[in-house]
């Protein structure tokens, strides 16, 4: 672990870094720090993984039939209910 200030500084740019929104110079600086600092590496990796898990967590599978049915009745579109949901 290098100087504490570096880690603290990195923490505040963390979001921008994982989103790839930092300038190339700053990115290089951070990457260099990551080479030397295992703790920050763990924080970055687990942060990325956290975002990744949430992003892929949304299950597809369509709207539950009862909910679709109630929705169509509420909107007075029940005549179109028989159509398969797309």
């Amino acid at each position: 672990m290098t100087g504490h200030l570096d880690c603290q500084h990195l923490l505040s740019s963390l979001s921008d870094f994982v989103d790839g929104e930092l300038s190339p110079e700053l990115c290089r600086e951070i990457e260099q720090h990551l080479n030397e600092c295992e703790n920050c590496r763990i924080v970055i990796n687990t942060l990325r993984k956290t975002i990744d898990l949430y992003h892929h967590q949304t299950e597809a599978g369509g709207l539950p039939q009862e909910i679709r049915q109630r929705l169509f009745y509420r909107l007075h579109l029940e005549e179109f209910l028989s159509r398969d949901s797309e």
Partner: protein, 206 residues
């Protein structure tokens, strides 16, 4: 949202604006699933989410004749849904304010490096990370976030909107969105590290 704009092309906007019921039904089928899931994330309650879903389309159908197409139809529907969800949350918690001033200036908002949990759980196998139990934990963790942070995280990281779109939808500045996003992400990383850190210990003992 990119995938949606492709399917959106198949909708006839003129027909929608003229109240063509067949076309409206197609619009509902195209977006209701996404909107319901978004509402479910915001409210964490199936009944509330269904209310949001119904109100969203009721309002949309009323407002469609005035829809000017300045944003895409999906963004427009999203905006209505987000407003509905926030309105509902505010009704349940009247002190909820999304635009609370100076919440970004508080010093305790940036955690210190020494407080961070440093378990390297990334190497856990997928079936551990994606188990039913893990999913439930993820859901629980996100509900612990205050609504001000949760809404930013949902739109940006779960729904994949850009910072600008998120800011626009929530009526916040981009800087505000970024600050909240960082706090939400760090909070969730910490929660997940606590949870998966334990799994990691168990797994390593196997």
């Amino acid at each position: 949202m990119n995938t949606e704009s492709i399917s959106e092309k198949s909708l006839n906007l003129e027909a929608l604006k003229n109240g063509d019921r067949h076309e409206l039904a197609r619009m509902v089928d195209l977006y209701s699933d996404k909107i319901y899931r978004l509402a479910l994330k915001f409210t964490n309650n199936p009944q509330d989410a269904e209310d949001v879903l119904q109100e969203t389309f009721l309002k949309a159908m009323r407002a469609l004749p005035e829809f000017e197409g300045r944003s895409s139809l999906s963004t427009w529907l999203y905006r209505i849904a987000v407003n509905e969800a926030l309105m509902l949350l505010r009704k349940q918690k009247p002190d909820l304010r999304l635009d609370t001033p100076n919440d970004d200036d508080e010093p305790e908002n940036t955690p210190l490096t020494n407080d961070l949990i440093l378990a390297d759980w990334c190497c856990l196998p997928e079936d551990e990370l994606l188990s039913e139990e893990s999913r439930r934990f993820l859901d629980k963790a996100i509900q612990k976030l205050p609504a001000t942070l949760r809404s930013v995280f949902i739109l940006r990281d779960i729904e994949g909107l850009s910072i600008r779109e998120t800011a626009e939808l929530l009526g916040l500045t981009e800087t505000n969105v970024k600050t909240r996003l960082l706090r939400a992400r760090l909070f969730l990383r910490q929660e997940l590290s606590r949870y998966f850190g334990e799994r990691l210990k168990e797994w390593e003992q196997k």
